[in-house]
């Protein structure tokens, strides 16, 4: 596995070298004036070559040389990794410890400490044999004890440690259950990104300015191995952007000489609401940042928009003179409205009706004046959910609605058809019965000597009873159909939660101010 990984790394090295050249070429017109950094970089790349070849001692020496030229703690880390790969755990331990000493707040400090613990265990002398065992003669090296790291992958014994003796032939009691030896997880060298600018002190943003400032030049450190866009801004200078692709085996130095920008104006937008979306001149292209915000603007009049949920939108005209730096502190007012937020998976694609007017397509949020409102959530195939809410100023009511499916009508329609047939048949048979009765009555009225045993009496009775039965069954079936047509499923339900959104005084070590607060 290690060999395969090494071959892959070698392949990657070729690509990485060419990529590094490419990056260096881009940086050439912005070459760093720091000769030491260039030398360190050269040593780093040589060290990486040795590292990939498995010549870990040479790699460690070259990383150490890079460190001596430019004392970046990452170089010490790589020295330690090289020694660890070269099975020199004591040296590895030494340099990991130096790395932590140099950069105690490193993002991977915790992992490095854990690693040092493992290395410590591997370097520790074997534990004393159990009391029941025959004690070895004084000066006789102890046999391998349980828990001793196996030879494979284990750290070599420290220099001067006598070789392990052959186990005595005498029978020994069965060893206790072996504790698995500590294992060092795989590790790789650390890449390095160095960002510098002229003048130094420029603000660094990653990818976009909405995330806020990342740091200031000069900056060095490790970044995630994925492409990233660097934005450097400094008051009175034209902002610059660069794209870099940090890697674990690369040292990328970015040096940008910022050009002065006298024809732009520098603005700093602050607000009593931190994190409000900031739009300049137009909103359709989206927010360009959040408060607090700094940046260059073309001289002239501009419209600033600030928006934040729970606050009234703010719009203000500002005048940006060329070559100046201005600060604008915009004060936002708390919103006078309340909000209703409809949530719940079953509301997807439904409609919120507020006071018998369409509100929004659910799930959604609507802003409403404070007061009592009748709400209804409708969705095809589901029972309506209706409720009345009293909304307060600055309060968001979150309504988690669980809509109940409305029973299918297919069966009811089929039942209605059967009912119609039954009632129709009943009407027909009833007609026959009445016809029979009329015939008999007519015969009597006409003086025909029919008797009480006339078969038409039986026929008429059967018809009448049959009609009644058909009517009755039809009525029952029809009632069932009607019930089915208007049948309700379980009521849709909703749970309301009220969130109060407002300003609250904030006292901290760095000052006082106002901040959002929410009670849930």
């Amino acid at each position: 596995m290690t060999k395969v990984r090494s071959r892959c790394a070698a392949t990657l090295l070729a690509a990485a070298v060419s990529f590094g050249i490419c990056v260096s070429a881009r940086a050439a017109d912005e070459a760093t004036p720091d000769k030491a950094l260039n030398d360190a970089k050269e040593s780093f790349e040589t060290a990486q070559t040795f590292f990939v070849r498995g010549e870990y001692d040479a790699a460690a020496a070259k990383f150490l040389e890079a460190y001596n030229r430019k004392p970046y703690p990452a170089f010490l880390f790589n020295v330690a990794v090289s020694y660890e790969k070269g099975k020199q755990l004591e040296k590895a331990k030494e340099y990991f410890e130096r790395y932590l000493k140099e950069d105690p707040n490193a993002s991977d400090a915790a992992q490095v400490r854990l690693r040092l613990d493992v290395i410590g265990k591997l370097l520790a002398p074997p534990p004393a044999p159990p009391a029941a065992a025959t004690p070895p003669a004084p000066g006789t090296p102890a046999p391998d004890a349980p828990g001793t790291p196996p030879a494979t992958g284990a750290a070599p014994p420290p220099a001067g440690t006598p070789p392990a003796p052959v186990a005595p032939a005498a029978p020994a009691p069965p060893p206790p259950a072996a504790t698995p030896p500590p294992v060092l997880p795989d590790i790789d060298t650390k890449g390095l990104v160095v960002i510098d600018s002229k003048p130094q002190g420029a603000t660094i943003y990653l990818n976009d300015k909405r995330s806020g400032p990342f740091g200031q030049t000069p900056w060095h450190g490790s970044l995630e191995s994925k492409p990233v866009r660097l934005i450097l801004e400094s008051k009175g200078y034209k902002a610059e952007e660069r794209s870099v692709s940090p890697r674990s085996d690369k040292l990328i130095d970015v040096y940008i000489a910022l050009s002065e920008e006298h024809y732009l104006g520098w603005i700093e937008i602050t607000s009593n609401v931190v994190g409000a979306d900031l739009y300049i001149d137009r909103k359709d292209i989206g927010a360009i940042g959040r408060t607090p915000f700094t940046g260059q603007l073309k001289p002239g009049k501009h419209t600033i928009f600030l928006e934040k949920f729970g606050w009234q939108p703010l719009q203000q005209e500002i005048d940006v003179p060329a070559g100046t730096a201005l600060q604008h502190n915009l004060v936002m007012q708390k919103s006078q409205s309340g909000w209703v937020s409809i949530t719940g998976k079953t509301t997807q694609g439904g409609r919120l009706i507020v006071d018998e007017k369409f509100g929004c397509v659910t799930p959604c949020r609507v802003e409403l004046p404070p007061g009592k409102h009748a709400l209804r959530v409708e969705r095809k195939g589901f029972e309506d959910y209706e409720t009345t809410l009293e909304l307060g100023q600055g309060i968001e009511t979150s309504l988690e609605v669980q809509m109940s499916p409305r029973p299918a009508r297919t069966h009811a329609i089929g039942t209605a058809v059967v009912a119609a047939v039954l009632i129709g048949a009943g009407a027909y048979v009833g007609y026959l019965s009445k016809q029979t009765k009329t015939d008999i009555q007519n015969d009597i009225n006409n003086g025909m000597l029919i008797d009480n045993g006339d078969s038409r009496f039986t026929t008429g009775k059967i018809e009448a009873i049959g009609a009644d039965v058909l009517y009755g069954v039809g009525a029952i079936v029809a009632a069932t159909a009607i019930y089915g047509l208007f049948e309700h499923g379980p009521d849709s339900t909703g749970v309301a939660e009220h969130h109060t959104i407002g300003l609250a005084p904030l006292f901290g070590p760095e000052g006082t101010g106002l901040a959002f607060s929410g009670r849930f």
Partner: protein, 432 residues
């Protein structure tokens, strides 16, 4: 929404129920039919042998029934007491037990009302005995004789009751195959004609006519009450023998008054005298005698008549007749002066159904007493071989006693049913 649903359901149910048919309308209508068909009562002894012999009795004075009659089987024992209420609804009960057990299965083929007593005299010819039925008590008791009369063949083949001897109590007249016996005033000792009288008035009865002998009591000869005894013949013309009885002696003296011979007919008029009926058919106040001579004719003898007199009127059989005149009755159906004749033809073909049977209502004008068929009664659902008209009688109906004169209603029997006609006459007597 749910309240609306419930309201809709309730409305729908109400409409559905309102739209239904009331089968009880047919029950109501069934009680208003112009004809009451009566089936044998529950427990009736013999199926299919119910209405071959019918005997209407004057309605009871206690108002327990508007009309009632006995129906008897002619082939086997079966006796039902049928009652009709004022609204015309029928009911019935089977008479059984008591002395009827003596009969075994022998039928009671001859019946006559004992006037004014709500009782009837019943003849059981094959048993050779007579019985008295008490309709009020719904009981039947055997009438024992003190003579050897009951030893005669077919004693009881014909019975009659009435004031024959002039006493206060009705006399009972019983015939056998060869004789008649008069039990005066209900006495159990009887008087019979002497040999000379029986020679003058032979009473032999051929097998073809031994089911029942026709006997009526009336004053149609103008010489006081006499009993007319039908003497149909076999291979020769039949006749009617007349006897008188006097109560001056005990037992009474029974004498032959002579024979009324059959007129000439299309064939041998052997059936002459097989059925008789007494009534005032011409409305002159005198009793007339109607003599059936199936299948050829029915003859009216206008009283008082002489034994040599030809019939005053002859009712010929209509087209399709089969056994015209097998049973006769007299009833004032139309409410006008004079009775009408109910002439049964149990073998008539009706609507192509042979043997379905019918009954003709015939009126006779006073001068000359020509017959007119004013209506023919049939079973509305007649079937071939039904023998509608096996018996016919006039059923006195009194919806609200006391009735000075009960309304006579046609009563027609067939082996399976009895039919009462309410609307044939001038007015429907039923209580609405």
């Amino acid at each position: 929404m749910r309240a609306a649903t419930r309201c809709l359901l309730a409305s729908f149910t109400a409409v559905a129920l309102a739209a239904g048919c009331d089968w009880r309308d047919f029950d109501t209508l069934q009680g208003q039919t112009p004809v009451l068909r009566l089936d044998p009562p529950s427990g009736y002894q013999t199926a299919g042998d119910f209405g071959g012999a019918l005997l209407p009795v004057a309605p009871p004075s206690d108002g327990s029934a508007a009309a009632w009659f006995l129906a008897s089987g002619t082939a086997s024992l079966g006796l039902g007491l049928m009652k009709i209420d004022a609204a015309g609804h029928g009911s019935g009960q089977t008479l059984s037990g008591g002395d009827l057990n003596n009969l075994g299965t022998d039928p009671l083929t001859a019946m006559a009302e004992i006037p004014g007593t709500s009782t009837a005299l019943l003849g059981a010819p094959t048993f050779r005995g007579i019985f008295v039925a008490d309709l009020l008590q719904a009981t039947v008791s055997q009438f024992t004789t003190s003579s050897s009369a009951s030893g005669e063949t077919l004693f009881g083949v014909g019975v009659a009751a009435g004031n024959l001897t002039g006493g206060a109590t009705p006399d009972l007249v019983v015939s056998s195959i060869s004789n008649i016996h008069v039990f005066s005033g209900g006495s159990h000792s009887d008087g019979s004609p002497g040999s000379a009288d029986l020679t003058a008035c032979p009473l032999s009865l051929p097998p073809a006519f031994q089911a029942r002998r026709a006997m009526v009591i009336g004053t149609f000869l103008g010489s006081g009450p006499v009993v007319a005894v039908g003497v149909p013949n076999a291979g020769a013309a039949g006749s009617v023998a007349f006897f008188a009885a006097t109560a001056t002696t005990t037992p009474p003296t029974v004498t032959c008054l002579g024979l009324l011979s059959a007129p000439a007919a299309a064939g041998v008029n052997s059936g002459f005298g097989s059925s008789l009926a007494v009534g005032d058919f011409d409305g002159d106040g005198a009793q007339d005698l109607l003599v059936g001579a199936p299948p050829y004719a029915v003859y009216l003898y206008k009283g008082p008549f002489g034994l040599a007199s030809p019939p005053a009127a002859t009712v010929p059989p209509p087209a399709g007749a089969g056994n015209f005149g097998n049973a006769l009755a007299a009833a004032n159906i139309d409410g006008k002066k004079g009775d009408e004749a109910l002439i049964a033809d149990s073998g008539a073909t009706v609507d192509g159904k042979t043997g379905a049977g019918d009954v003709s209502i015939v009126a006779f004008s006073s001068t000359p007493p020509g017959p007119t068929v004013i209506r023919t009664l049939t079973d509305h659902a007649a079937g071939a071989g039904e023998s509608y008209g096996a018996a016919v009688a006039a059923l006195p109906f009194c919806a609200a006693p006391p009735c000075a004169t009960a309304t006579p209603l046609p009563l027609v029997g067939s082996p399976n049913n009895a039919f009462v006609y309410y609307t044939v006459g001038a007015a429907d007597p039923r209580t609405k």
